[in-house]
Amino acid sequence: MEKLQFLKGLIKDLGSALADRDVVILLLLGPIVLTLIFGGVYINAYVDNIPIAILDEDNSSLSRMIVRQFEQNDRFKAVYYAQSREDLNAVIESGKAYMGLFIPENFSRDVSSLKSSPVLVLVDGTNIVVGNNSFAAASSIIQTISAGVQIEVMQAKGLMPQTANSIGTVLKFTDRTLYDPGMKYMNYLLLGFIAVFLQQVVLAGVGISVIKASGSIVESGKIPARIISKILACSIVALSSTFIAVYIATTVFGVPFRGSLPLLLLLSCLFAFAVSSAAVIISSIVKDKVKYAQLSYMLSLPTFVSCGYIWPFSQMPKGLALVVKTLWPLANFARSFDEIAIKGLGFSAVKHNITALAIYTAVLMPVGMCLYKLRFGGKESHQGKKKPVAPEISM
């Protein structure tokens, strides 16, 4: 009987959640639309056409060959030919070029006479994404040229071409980048963003629903059952749209998916409940849906930046990592959500996250329920006593 009533409540809550314009727009469209918008940012997989400035003081056939390699590389776009070192520095400082290539006077002659002449690359380090890409491409061009020149020099010193060649390639390094060989920003970030979208819509959806329906929830006398059914209703819709978003990420934006869908779903469900516990607590404290919405949107940036996704926990001060992991469930979700999908992590690899989310919910959900009863059930509650039914129906 109890179960039947709970089921009825759940169906009713699902119905009222779907009839509620704000909640539906948020839960259903939020993750999908945001995935499309954010995916568009990273649609060009690589940072290409980085504006660079060139100063070739040598103007020899060797230096011109080096310049040509830079000009023809997709990663770079030569936008400025400087006249002096000051000019080169100034153009980088102004931000018109992100990198400068400097070949000194007598470079070619010095190479032939083994004076170990340098090619200087000046990288603007203010934006590390651009800086690292310029550095990697420049380094690869110059290493290739350098190897060729080195072999020529060795031949000139009397080595047989084949021996010179063998010494030049005396050992090789082969790189293999696993899971995401192209190291695309899209693959790196989009699933993490989807994890945050899920957090934001569940936070907003659950919080706003329990505030709006506080009258009827308190009136019914079954606060835990009604809140759980609200959470289930919101989670079902939010998880559906989140998985549509994951589908869009893999099909439209080509994010690789190697993982187990049931495991991803299990982790996401646990996360939805964990975030809902936080939502019930915050909504009980704030008690006003507009203020609650303001507060919940404020949490997206700090929770994402600190959840170990863009900067691993191993690199943070230990105390901060502990505080973040204890206070906020995204720390046990975003990275694992991404890794289950992209790397195909198994249950054992995310077991600790699953346990942490379960403990978080088990501890904070009852706290949230008690706080809700205390805050909305008390004499001072306006939404609980004065308007027992109305708030659920209209805004």
Partner: protein, 394 residues
């Protein structure tokens, strides 16, 4: 009009005392987040990346190479393996991010000039870690290679050491990373993240700042009311922005090479631009939750839209055009450049002009939009008023 500007300003400051949540959103969350970002990235660079080594050669040369990695602060060799399957497992369980395999007979092959290969494996799913590891590993391996070439030249051609070294490095690749030589993530990210959180706060509060029950009937007074609101959030938001900039410069030691008055001006311009935009939205959209959502979608993800991390040049054209219309676009790179490059205010005069036009334009629309609103006094909607000013009436 001036009187109502002053009255609105005074009212808002007074409300700060009673409305604790406003203090939490405008001051507490932004400042605490800024402190958290500063602490989070205090390591500057990625260090101690967990690594596994499979040394199938176990020669003096291979052990030397492993030693290079062991001594480097970027890597933390956690596993010495004797089985490549185990390495695969460690990657799949996210226990390591880097792996190195030195094949059997490596040292002999080097002597025979058989060009053996060291295999480096990286976990590409954690990009900040993978790119740091790649850069440092290739530096180490190039040094190793140069050393071997020099020895070969000395041995085979009886070259003197110095000449062998010069031959091995006929062309030197010198690089210099300007403005952020250690490629610190703190320097790269914190100025933007710690200020973005303040603009989010301004946007969230301004999204519902225009209240029907506070509106005056006379248009002049109403204009004063809107301008007063913009001024309040512009001034208080600008102040919090500047506090965060000072914390970054002095508490977290992000090198600040510009001048502080220029930074302060930029902070207030951003705060005024965001507050006038969000108050414009508040005047236009009377449905509060929708107004908040619009602001959340337009303003909150600004750090991504405006090319602060992923550069604008790599975004589709339409994104580039939209980015240039966002207030944070004219702030983010400029503020980071004030810190790291020490640019002065005169080099960003175009952005200042943009801000002035934007602030005046948005404020003008906000005032016009407010004229169509119906003023409601306390008595008009008693029940809603009691519920904390939730009136969502047009």
């Amino acid at each position: 009009m001036l009187k109502s500007v002053a009255a609105t300003l005074a009212g808002e400051f007074k409300a700060l005392k009673t409305n604790k949540l406003r203090v939490v959103i405008l001051f507490l969350i932004p400042v605490l987040s800024n402190i958290m970002f500063g602490l989070e990235f205090s390591g500057d660079q990625i260090r101690n990346i967990p690594m596994a080594v499979l040394d199938q050669d176990n020669s003096q040369l291979s052990r030397t190479i492993v030693e290079y990695f062991r001594e480097n602060e970027v890597f933390d060799i956690k596993y010495m393996l004797d089985d490549s399957e185990k390495m695969k497992e460690l990657f799949n369980e996210s226990k390591i991010n880097v792996g190195m395999i030195i094949p059997k007979g490596f040292s002999e092959d080097v002597k025979k000039l058989d060009s053996p290969s060291i295999l480096m494996l990286y976990d590409g799913s954690q990009m900040s870690v993978a790119s740091s590891a790649k850069t440092r590993a290739s530096e180490i391996l190039l040094t190793v290679k140069a050393g071997i070439v020099i020895k070969q030249l000395e041995g085979r051609l009886n070259m003197p050491a110095e000449l062998a070294q010069k031959t091995a490095q006929a062309v030197r690749f010198e690089n210099r990373t300007l403005y952020n030589p250690s490629r610190s993530f703190k320097n790269f990210l914190v100025t933007g993240l710690g200020t973005a959180i303040v603009q989010n706060a301004i946007a969230m509060l301004c999204a519902v700042a225009v209240k029907n029950n506070e509106l005056e009937v006379k248009k002049r007074k109403r204009a004063g009311y809107i301008i007063g609101k913009i001024m309040f959030y512009g001034l208080s938001g600008g102040l919090v922005l500047f506090i965060n900039v000072l914390l970054q410069a002095f508490a977290f030691k992000i090198p600040f090479r510009g001048n502080l008055s220029g930074a302060a001006l930029l902070c207030f311009l951003l705060a005024f631009a965001v507050s006038s935009f969000s108050i414009m939205v508040s005047s236009l959209i009377r449905y509060e939750l929708f107004s908040i959502t619009v602001n959340a979608v337009v303003i909150v993800p600004s750090t991504l839209y405006v090319g602060y991390t992923w550069p604008l040049i790599s975004m589709p054209g339409i994104y580039q055009k939209i980015a240039m219309m966002l207030p944070f676009y004219h702030f983010a790179d400029n503020m980071r450049n004030m810190f790291l490059k020490g640019i002065n205010i005169s080099s960003i005069y175009r952005d200042i002009v943009w801000y002035i036009f934007f602030i005046v334009g948005a404020a003008f629309i906000a005032v016009l939009a407010s004229f169509r609103l119906k003023a409601e006094k306390y008595g008009d909607v008693p029940e809603l008023k009691k519920e904390g000013g939730e009136a969502a009436i047009s």
